[in-house]
């Protein structure tokens, strides 16, 4: 398809859209100002907030029926501006760049907080920060660095290079990829902006230990907003995990078998598998924490749940998180070492087996070593000690394989190699320190001291960041088409290595200094703290060398050769043009850096679009001239950024709910925007504006499984962990509670039985809908979907009726452990049902418009799987609360 065919049929942007944005902005600002000034009486403010909500609802209706945000190709083919490209892109390279840049921004934020902390500790008895400010700085530094810098930086590279390494066109779900990015970006803003709300930001440490993070000890909307932002990030991560898993399984190009997948991609696969199963556990913990703060549940504030329950939930996620941060860097090191040693990677299969068969599963079996100083049973401590020591063994295999790889090699001491080597060295130091902490008696001594701080910074900063720096320099020519300045790169390496060790090595000698104190007056701690602070200043400052080097090199660096390192992995090969030619495809395009700053010495392309961005001619696209003869087509959608923005505003309103006159309108506006984006998304799907092609994966081991089904099952797997965590927490509280109501005393079995009968009857109805459309009967499908919708609605109605009954008897979530767990668990399940009902409405509307046929009804099947999963969950919930 030539550029000419993209000639725009431009519809001018409706003035109503501009008016809509303007009205929204005025309303938000006016609401904030009026409430901030404490304008009027409470009644007047209530009226004002209601007016805002009604405005939002009217606007919603208007925009639903006038479809203002339609991203049809027509209206957006003219989207050529630089800003719009980056705001609306769904292209994996662009999103990779966005991830990297945003991660660096958050690194700056987290780094500044670290400098504040080190300044506070530079001398004894310092008062640079107040205790609250120090606690906020510590907490947000940890959270931002781990969740908004390290992993997203790795996923910037993953977005860019995984599709190239497996010769895929893009990720399996490009819009979801954009949604992942924008929710990530906005979630960080929520967390950081919480500094400026009443109550300040999260100040209970990055581990969010509850009940320290409860309303009692950390009141105010600020921390709530921080938790809400963190929860949004987990949603982003879950979506991203599913996307990568489906991509890696289903989107590999012809000939890219599992054995031919490069190491970086393998390690990304290991990472996303861990993410898929670890983060839902934390998500349920965050839901409980927010419910404790906003809805009055008592998961972590009652003695039956409390700190030990949070510890278990958090660290079950927390230890896999260490490897989630680490493994992408390991993947990059596996790419860099053989290239710069000019040898094959030694023991590739051993590395893969050690990681997949040992590291990944064992990461879920070692969380208890973070709890050796808690009152868990000694037997359990022993078990966790053994498993923790055991998990160090596969890492020995990996490190030895790396060392053998470079031994005897013809080394090129370029910056990527130096950083990779530095990563190995500091990982060994940090890893050895970690083995001490695996021992119960030694952990009793070191726990909560700066020895632990040194250990995990050697692992997470040294090994991970240095490994990703190696990736940065290694792939810079591929991303920009320019070479970086080698001298500045080596200067960055030398100064980073020296300052890093100056910063963290003295902490090993502070094994008697508690890690969470705001100041100290012990003379022997002064020198190590002074050295560490000097190291922190230098380490922070030298990172600007990297930024300056890259900015300067992007603008004026020498053109990069097509394959400057003589690497043999597919991302350095010419990209494939995915045009079907008699069942095969041709390769005509050359390297096309996303940043569009030159394609090195690649031969010029005659108006050939870089079809790595191309998924289907039906998708909307915009073009960007990135070189004299290179045109890149970008597939755009406004939905992800609008949806993410709407959710973020709604969460801001949710956090502000205790200031009802401010919180409600903001919540309403945010929800309105989000709903509009969802409706727009559904409209796109209904009209095949942004259609994901159907098809079986044709890739072992899921030869007969469609992409959507694989995605749905991945989602269900993560949901299984979510509900398992909730029900385990319920069981934990129940076992710990001195009393628990007998069956049929608090919740009438008859009522539960009727609800159960209704819900379990809806699964066969959903199946009948599928069976009808398989036979080609749209009317039958619609009828059965209607039955399912009715049954689901009645079920949710019964649940709300029981809630109302309990409320009328003055039984609230805060009344008892039994009620707390009941309201929360049933509430989460009812939300799942509600989501299913909304999906059903969409399916019915699409069905009425003839959107499903005998051969095209995959969405109906996916819905049926989801709906039946929700039914299956209820079986356990019914048993737990009504029968046991």
């Amino acid at each position: 398809m030539g550029e000419e065919e993209l000639a725009p049929v431009v519809k001018s942007r409706p003035s109503s859209q501009t008016a809509f944005y303007a009205i929204l902005a005025v309303l938000v600002v006016a609401t904030a100002v009026l409430v901030d000034l404490n304008y009027g009486t409470p009644a007047e403010r209530l009226v004002f907030s209601e007016v805002v909500i009604i405005w939002g609802a009217l606007l919603l209706l208007y925009f639903i029926f006038n479809r203002p945000f339609i991203t049809t190709g027509e209206s957006f083919r003219k989207t050529e501006s630089w800003v719009k490209r980056w705001l609306y892109t769904t292209n994996h390279k662009d999103i990779g760049i966005l991830y990297i840049v945003t991660a660096l921004f958050y690194a700056f934020v987290g780094g500044m907080l670290a400098e504040f902390m080190r300044t506070q500790l530079v001398v004894p008895e310092n008062h640079f920060l107040s205790p609250l400010e120090y606690n906020e700085a510590v907490s947000i530094h940890g959270l931002v660095m781990i969740f908004w810098f390290l992993s997203p930086l790795a996923f910037g590279f993953a977005n860019y290079f995984v599709p190239l390494q497996i010769k895929a066109k893009d990720l399996a779900f490009p819009r979801l990829n954009a949604l992942s990015y924008w929710t990530y970006a906005f979630s960080g803003l929520l967390v950081v902006s919480a500094f400026f709300l009443p109550g300040g930001d999260i100040n209970g440490g990055w581990t969010l230990y509850s009940p320290l993070t409860s309303n009692t000890f950390m009141p105010g909307p600020g921390p709530t907003l921080g938790f809400a932002g963190f929860t949004l990030l987990i949603g982003s991560i879950t979506i991203s995990s599913i996307n990568f898993i489906v991509t890696l399984v289903a989107e590999r190009g012809p000939g890219v078998t599992w054995s031919k997948i490069p190491m970086f991609t393998w390690f990304i696969l290991f990472t996303v598998v861990q993410m898929l199963f670890a983060f839902p556990d934390l998500l349920s913990g965050m839901f409980m924490l927010i419910a404790d703060r906003l809805a009055g549940t008592i998961y972590f504030t009652s003695t039956a749940g409390g700190a030990l329950l949070w510890d278990n939930i958090f660290w079950f996620f927390g230890h896999p998180e260490v490897y989630i941060v680490l493994l992408p860097a390991f993947g990059a090191i596996c790419e860099v070492l053989p290239v710069f040693a000019r040898k094959r990677l030694f023991g590739k299969n051993a590395i893969l087996v050690a990681t997949f068969a040992l590291v990944v599963p064992f990461s879920f079996l070692v969380w208890g070593h973070h709890m050796f100083t808690t009152p868990i049973p000694p037997t359990e401590k022993m078990a966790f000690m053994v498993s923790t020591m055991g998990i160090s063994l596969p890492f020995d295999v990996i490190v030895i394989a790396w060392l053998i790889t470079i031994t005897g090699g013809s080394l090129r001491l370029k910056t990527p190699f130096l950083f990779a080597l530095a990563s190995i060295v500091v990982f060994i130091i940090g890893g050895i320190a970690g083995v001490f902490l695996a021992s119960v008696p030694l952990d009793m001594l070191f726990r909560g001291s700066y020895f632990v701080v040194a250990h995990f910074h050697y692992v997470m900063v040294g090994a991970s960041v240095f490994g990703l720096f190696a990736a940065f320099y290694y792939w810079f020519p591929r991303m920009t088409g320019r070479m970086y300045n080698e001298f500045l790169g080596k200067l960055h390496f030398v100064l980073s290595m020296i300052s890093f060790n100056l910063l963290y090595f003295p902490m090993f000698f502070l094994m008697d200094m508690p890690r969470r104190i705001v100041t100290y007056n012990v003379p022997s701690w002064a020198l190590p703290n002074l050295l560490a602070t000097i190291g922190a200043y230098i380490f922070g400052a030298v990172q600007f060398i990297l930024v300056a080097n890259f900015i300067q090199s992007m603008r004026n660096g020498p053109p990069a050769p097509a394959n400057p390192w003589d690497a043999d992995t597919p991302e350095w090969e010419p990209e494939h043009v995915f045009e079907e030619v008699n069942g095969g495809f041709t390769t005509t395009a050359k390297i096309t850096p996303a940043l569009g700053l030159g394609a090195g010495n690649s031969p010029p392309m005659a108006k050939t679009p870089a079809l790595d961005a191309l998924r289907s001619s039906e998708q909307p696209a915009t073009t960007t001239q990135v070189g004299p003869n290179v045109v890149v087509r970008h597939h755009v959608s406004t939905r992800p950024i609008i949806l993410s923005g709407g959710i973020s505003i709604a969460l801001l309103g949710l956090a502000m709910l205790q200031y009802a006159y401010l919180g409600l309108p903001i919540l309403g506006i945010g929800a309105t925007i989000a709903v509009m984006a969802i409706v727009g998304w559904a409209w796109d799907d209904m009209n095949s504006v942004f259609r994901i092609p159907e098809g079986i994966t044709e890739k072992w081991p899921f030869n007969q499984v469609s992409r959507l089904k694989l995605g749905m099952w991945s989602l269900i797997f993560s949901d299984i962990i979510l509900f398992a965590t909730i029900l385990t927490a319920d069981a934990y509280i129940r076992i710990n509670s001195p009393t628990w109501p007998a069956p049929n005393t608090l919740h009438p079995i008859v009522l539960g039985a009727i609800s159960t009968f209704i819900l379990l009857s809806s699964s066969p109805a959903a199946y009948m809908a599928l069976d009808s459309i398989r036979k080609g009967s749209t009317r039958g499908m619609l009828s059965w979907l209607g039955v399912t919708l009715a049954l689901g609605s009645i079920f949710d109605g019964f649940e709300f009726y029981e809630w109302w009954q309990l409320f009328s008897q003055h039984m609230y979530p805060s009344t008892s452990n039994a009620l707390s767990t009941y309201f929360f668990t049933v509430g989460i399940h009812a939300t799942h049902v509600l989501i299913g009902l909304l999906v059903m409405v969409y399916l019915i509307i699409k069905g009425l418009k003839g959107g499903f046929t005998k051969s095209n009804h995959e969405a109906v099947e996916m819905f049926g799987i989801y709906w039946s999963f929700v039914d299956a969950l209820w079986v356990f919930i019914f048993a737990f609360f009504f029968l046991l």
């Binding site: 278990n312 359990e380 159907e694 962990i721 009804h857 029968l883």
Partner: protein, 97 residues
């Protein structure tokens, strides 16, 4: 031929017996609370959980179509089961003192 037509016939089943089995199982659970619990709470609770697991297996196998899917998908479905098992065992073990 689209993917969903590939083995359409194999994927069809009569949902009524499965539905009835699930409802009868629920009935057994409820009846056990009234008739069995007075004799042994542990036995009743165990029965309720086992019957519940049976119901979920039926729903998963038929209404979620696992019975008709590739075995590899079924195998992958065991991963969260393993993780859930580890979590339940580890967390609840810390209560037992």
């Amino acid at each position: 031929m689209r993917w969903c037509q590939l083995d359409e016939q194999k994927r069809r089943f009569n949902p009524i017996p499965i539905w009835l089995a699930v409802l009868v199982s629920t009935g057994i659970q409820i009846a056990s609370v009234y008739k069995l619990r007075q004799y042994s709470i542990v036995a009743t609770d165990t029965l309720i959980l086992l019957v519940g697991a049976f119901e979920v297996t039926l729903i998963g196998a038929y209404f979620m179509h696992l019975k008709f899917e590739q075995k590899s998908l079924l195998a992958v479905a065991l991963i969260p089961i393993f993780i859930v098992g580890a979590m339940v065992f580890g967390i609840l073990a810390s209560v037992v003192r």
